[in-house]
Assembly symmetry: C2
Homo-oligomer: 138 residues x 2
DNA sequence: CAGTATCCGACACGATACTG
DNA sequence: CAGTATCGTGTCGGATACTG
């Protein structure tokens, strides 16, 4: 494994460098600010919420309209659907395209970044599937 | 890419199969139950919470005691620290070893599954670092 | 050292009704 | 079709004090 100028493993720095640097590399405790500064934090927070990953998976298939998404996901209120889409858009994962009407039409689609995230999440999903109910070794 | 018996891409099934199967593969909407049944959901929920990943990173370095962890992470209440560790233990990522005292001593360490998760999360962290502030296309 | 007990605020999410 | 407004609820997380 390669190392940085300070001898810290480069691999570790990706998630740890900003998330855990202080404590992992030095003796200083990790603060909430350290965590906030880590690029991984936003991503983890996003994929950790209830419906974002589902929406990303749906949009990975093909672009969809608002009501189409609403129908595609039961148990998801319009309020939350709207907010989730807005957040995904703000973070660059989803592109919203409005075509003035009538007939009025809005389309949601993944951006390149969104597709990239989808691939990354799928990797994690495969890990989860592989270890589901499997290893219970101490 | 290989396909399942129904023509669904195997890769997609890992995260999508249980998370989005219904809507992605058929026309039926995704329900909260579909989501709950997906093996990825628990993992996403775990790494999505505020401190679990930080704890995993710290324990990936070396096993630590309770107060040691408490000191290593500022802005983390003992109440939450305890609950996070209990959850990580219940899900098989962390092993708790108590040595009766005095002097009393409890040690927390990653299990094999925990180390595996740490590696998976680090991959995601590298993805996040690579795309941080980068692509604003689309 | 390794926790528990109690209280409280912030936020995510759900239900329902209404709008351009 | 594509949203917003309002309200209520549950869970997460923080502060503080106490215990074996």
């Amino acid at each position: 494994m390669s190392t940085g100028t300070d001898g810290t493993p480069d691999g570790a720095r990706a998630v740890a460098a900003a998330l855990v640097t202080a404590a992992a590399v030095t003796a200083a405790p990790v603060t909430a600010q350290d965590r906030a500064r880590c690029p991984a934090t936003a991503v983890l927070h996003r994929i950790g919420d209830r419906w974002s990953v589902v929406l990303i998976c749906l949009l990975a298939e093909r672009p969809r309209g608002y009501n189409e998404l609403d129908r595609a996901v039961a148990d998801l209120s319009r309020r939350v659907l709207t907010r989730s889409l807005r957040t995904l858009e703000a973070e660059g994962y989803v592109r919203r395209t409005a075509r003035p009407g009538p007939p009025y039409r809005v389309e949601y689609a993944l951006t390149g970044l969104g597709e990239s995230l989808h691939a990354a999440v799928r990797e994690l999903g495969e890990w989860a599937a592989a270890h589901d109910g499997g290893p219970r070794e101490g």
